[in-house]
């Protein structure tokens, strides 16, 4: 997969993604952290397109940015007082958490260096969206039905949990 445009696009997206993910970690105001999460999800969709997964990128924008991120922002607005700037951001687990994350990164770098020999294989068909649809309704039809049950359960559970207590 070539071209310097592709390389530049990858590095720009990677820088934006790491920056906005760090924003989720570092920003004091939780609403700003939520906006940073939206930026991270958008750049992730761009990376999906760079990997040739246009359909997954579209799903990502629709579900993550359109639904989950807005839901998270609503929850932030419902539970935060806007003036709540003085609150501490981090728990006591800051140093152990940093140590474990660092160890995680080191192990993963070791894993990644073993993968550098692999290149991109081209897609067999042009019509990846059609192939995904066929796979979902033939090979993966059982997981698809289970997912629909899971979503129904989550829907009912969320309604039960979020409903106001009835007055006795």
């Amino acid at each position: 997969m070539g071209g310097w445009i592709y390389t530049i696009a990858f590095y720009v997206c990677a820088a934006l993604l790491v920056a906005s993910a760090l924003g989720v970690l570092l920003l004091r105001n939780l609403f700003h952290a939520g906006l940073s999460l939206i930026a991270a999800l958008f750049t992730m969709a761009a990376l999906f397109i760079l990997l040739g997964a246009e359909f997954v990128a579209g799903i990502q924008v629709l579900i993550y940015v359109g639904a989950i991120a807005v839901l998270i922002l609503f929850a932030v607005m419902l539970t935060q007082r806007i003036a709540e700037e003085k609150v501490k951001r981090y728990t006591r687990a800051l140093l152990p958490g940093l140590a474990v994350a660092l160890a995680l990164v080191i192990v993963m770098i070791l894993v990644t260096t073993g993968l550098t020999g692999y290149g991109f294989t081209p897609f067999a068909t042009e019509d990846t969206v059609g192939d995904i649809g066929k796979a979902l309704l033939s090979t993966y039809v059982l997981p698809l039905e289970v997912i629909s049950l899971l979503l129904l359960g989550a829907l009912v559970g969320a309604i039960v949990l979020a409903r106001k207590e009835e007055e006795k």
Binding site: A53, L71, I72, L151
Partner: protein, 103 residues
Amino acid sequence: MTITPAHFIGLAFIIFAIGFLVVVVRKNAIAILMGVELMLNAVNLILLAFNRIHGTMELDGQVFAIFVIAVAAAEAVVGLALILAVYRSLGTVSIDDLSALKG
């Protein structure tokens, strides 16, 4: 310098570590959910990158990523409903204050 799938996988590892750090370290329960979303997204990126390494006759990686996104949606909905219920009964979503089950 050409981009290989290893670049995408390394980037996904970095994002996963940041998401893990958000989950472990941030105090607010909603921020923890944001960290979980970051980790799930990193896993999706790895799935799509491996889908390009191996034969792309089948689109298993992409189908699996779609399932991950659906499960993430369910997780976010139930998690936020739980957080709102906790907030209504205790008046806080700070993890340090939710210690009623401490042994």
